[in-house]
C-alpha cells in the first residue's frame, strides 16, 4: 500500500504561512540551532549521508555539490534559490512557498552558515506574484525574531535574503539563465563550464539549489542524514514531492518516500483515472520529460530504477493522459509550448521546434506521409545533440518516446485516421 510520508510538507495547511511563532511551535528552526553548533564540514557530511539529490530536475547529489564548493579556494559568496518551476504540471515549490516559506528560508540559512555567506536570493517565477506578501512577511518575521539578518541568534553570523521576481520565462529555470535574470537581464543561458560554484551571480562563486532541495536541509541536520536516507532507497534518499495532474482523480502534491512504484502513486494515492477511461500514457518530469505506457508503471520512483528504465524523475511532475486524447494532438501542445519558451539564442531549438510543429500539423490534417516520421526523428535527434542548453536538448524527449511506443498511431494518421477523433484530418482530400 502506497504511503505518504510528511517530512517537509508536514506544516502545509497546518500553520500560518510565514509565522515564526507557528513555525517554531511546529518544531521549526531546530535544524538551524543545531547547525550553528556544528562544524560546517560535519553538516556537509550529514547532507552527503542523506542521499539528497537536487530536486529541481538535474538530480545532482547535493552533498557532493557542497563538498566540491567547500573545497574550492574561493568559497560561494551567494546562496541562490531557484523558485522558477516552469515545467508544466509542476507546482510543488508553490506548495512550500505558499504554505511553509520559513522551511525554505531555514534551509537557505543553514547553507549560508556552512559557507559563511552573507547574501541570498530567492528567485520566484512571476506567475506566483500572488505569493509576494507571504514570502516577504516570512522574511520580515524571521529577521524580527533574529533567525535572519544581522548576528543571527546572537552569533557573528549574518545573512540577508532578497526576493527577485521573474516575469514569465520558462528558460529562467535553467540555472545560468536564472542568474542573468537576477542581474536584471533577459534570461539567456550562459556557457558552462565554468560552473556556478566557480563563476555564478555577479561572476562570484554561487551555491544554487531548488526550493525543495533547500527545504529538506533543516530536517536532515536535525535528524541526521542517515535517518533521512532511510525513508528512501539505497540510491535515492528521503522523500519527494510529486505533482499529480491531467486525467487523474485526485490531482495534487503528495510527499512520497522514494521507492514507491509509479502505479501505486497513480492508482492508490491519485485515485486512478476518472470517467471510466483507460490510461493511454504517462509523462514524467514535465513537458521535457519522458512518456511511457503501462509496461513501465511498476518502476519504483527512485533515480536509479528510473534511469535503468530510460526515465528521469525531473521535477517530479506526473502527468496522466487517458485514451480520449490523441498522441499527435498532445505532441502539438508540447511543441507549441517549446516554441513559445525557446529563448531564440541557438538555431536548433529556435527553428527545430517550429519545423516539428509544421510536420505534426501535417499528421493532424491527414496530409503526412510515412517519411515524415523519419523527418521528425531526424530533427529531434539534431535538436538533442546540437541545442545550446537543456531546454532545446530535452524539448523532443516526449516526441521521441511517443514515436517509439505509439508509432502505430502515427501510421494511422498517415492513413487519415485519428483513433481518438481529435484531429481534424481536414487536408485528407487534398492529398
Amino acid at each position: 500500500m502506497a504511503k505518504i510520508v510528511k517530512l517537509i510538507s508536514k506544516n502545509c495547511g497546518k500553520i500560518i504561512p510565514g509565522s515564526v511563532e507557528d513555525y517554531v511551535k511546529a518544531g521549526g528552526y531546530k535544524g538551524l540551532k543545531k547547525a550553528m553548533k556544528m562544524d560546517p564540514k560535519e553538516i556537509i557530511e550529514e547532507v552527503k549521508k542523506s542521499g539528497l539529490m537536487g530536486r529541481g530536475g538535474a538530480g545532482y547529489p547535493t552533498g557532493k555539490k557542497w563538498e566540491q564548493a567547500y573545497a574550492n579556494s574561493r568559497k560561494p559568496e551567494y546562496v541562490v534559490c531557484n523558485g522558477d518551476e516552469g515545467e508544466p504540471g509542476t507546482y510543488k515549490d508553490r506548495l512550500i512557498l505558499s504554505q511553509d516559506p520559513l522551511r525554505l528560508i531555514e534551509g537557505m540559512t543553514i547553507a549560508a552558515y556552512v559557507f559563511n555567506i552573507k547574501e541570498g536570493y530567492i528567485y520566484v517565477r512571476g506567475e506566483y506574484l500572488d505569493l509576494q506578501e507571504t514570502i516577504n512577511s516570512a522574511i520580515k518575521n524571521a529577521e524580527e525574531a533574529n533567525y535572519l539578518g544581522e548576528n543571527i541568534l546572537g552569533s557573528d553570523f549574518s545573512f540577508h535574503i532578497n526576493v527577485v521576481w521573474g516575469a514569465g520565462a520558462y528558460v529562467c529555470g535553467e540555472n545560468t539563465a536564472l542568474l542573468e535574470s537576477i542581474e536584471g537581464k533577459s534570461g539567456r543561458p550562459r556557457k558552462k563550464p565554468p560552473f556556478l560554484t566557480l563563476v555564478g551571480l555577479h561572476q562570484a562563486p554561487t551555491l544554487l539549489q531548488n526550493v525543495e532541495t533547500y527545504s529538506n536541509i533543516s530536517y536532515i541536520v536535525e535528524h541526521g542524514g542517515e535517518e533521512y536516507h532511510s525513508y528512501g532507497t539505497e540510491y535515492s534518499g528521503g522523500t519527494k514531492l510529486v505533482c499529480l495532474s491531467g486525467n487523474i482523480a485526485k490531482k495534487g502534491v503528495y510527499e512520497i518516500p522514494f521507492g514507491t512504484p509509479i502505479r501505486e502513486i497513480i492508482y492508490e494515492i491519485g485515485g486512478g483515472i476518472p470517467g471510466g477511461r483507460n490510461l493511454k500514457f504517462v509523462q514524467l518530469g514535465g513537458s521535457s520529460g519522458a512518456c511511457f505506457k503501462d509496461e513501465k508503471l511498476d518502476t519504483p520512483m527512485c533515480y536509479k530504477a528510473l534511469q535503468d528504465n530510460g526515465l528521469k524523475l525531473g521535477s517530479g511532475a506526473l502527468l496522466v493522459i487517458d485514451d480520449s486524447n490523441c498522441v499527435i494532438d498532445f505532441l502539438k501542445c508540447i511543441t507549441e509550448f517549446f516554441i513559445h519558451e525557446s529563448c531564440g539564442k541557438c538555431t536548433p531549438c529556435r527553428e527545430g521546434n517550429t519545423r516539428l510543429l509544421e510536420l505534426l500539423d501535417k499528421f493532424s490534417k491527414g496530409k503526412a506521409e510515412k517519411e515524415d516520421i523519419d523527418r521528425l526523428c531526424e530533427i529531434s535527434g539534431l535538436m538533442k545533440r546540437a541545442s545550446f542548453c537543456g531546454l532545446g536538448q530535452a524539448a523532443t524527449t516526449a516526441l521521441a518516446d511517443c514515436i517509439k511506443y505509439m508509432k502505430d498511431e502515427f501510421l494511422e494518421h498517415v492513413d487519415g485516421h485519428c483513433r481518438a477523433g481529435v484531429c481534424s484530418m481536414s487536408g485528407k482530400e487534398e492529398r
Binding site: 508544466p88 516575469a167 505533482c243 493522459i321 498532445f330 507549441e336 513559445h340
Partner: protein, 158 residues
Amino acid sequence: MNGTPLVTKVKEIIDKYNGSQERLIQILLDLQKESGQNYLPEDCIEEVSSILDMPLGKVFEVATFYSMFNNEPKGRYVIEVCKSAPCHVTGSKNVAKMFEDALNIKMGETTSDNMFTLQYSSCFGGCDVSPAIKINEIIYGNLTMEKINEIIDMYRRK
C-alpha cells in the same frame, strides 16, 4: 508619445529600487501594474532607460523577452487560459471557448469596455484545478459555464 500620466511615476518606482539597473525587471513589473492597462507604454520605457542610464535597446530587450510584459494596452483584467499539457488534456480548449462565448470576443482580443483581455498562457502551476485560468494574479479552476459567468460578473462589479 507624450502625456501618459504613468511616465511621471517612473522616477518614484525607480527610487524604490535605489536606481539599481539590476532591478530592471522588478521596476518594469511595478510599472506595468501601475499602468492599469497591463502594459508598458513606450514613453515609460524611454524614461526608464534615461533615468537608469541604460541603452534604450537593453531596456527594450528585457521588456520584450519576458512573456508577462505587454507592449500594447490590455484590458484591466487579463484572463489567461493555460494551454500547457496538464490543462490541455483536461479540456482547456473548452474553457477557452466558454470564455469566448461569455465575453463575446476571441482569444487574444480585449472587450470593447477595456475590462477583459482573453489570452492563452503557459503553465502557471494551477494543475491541481485544471483546466485552470488566471485573472491578473489569481488562479481559478474546475470551471463550468455557470462559474465562469459568476467570475466575470464579480470582476465587472469590482
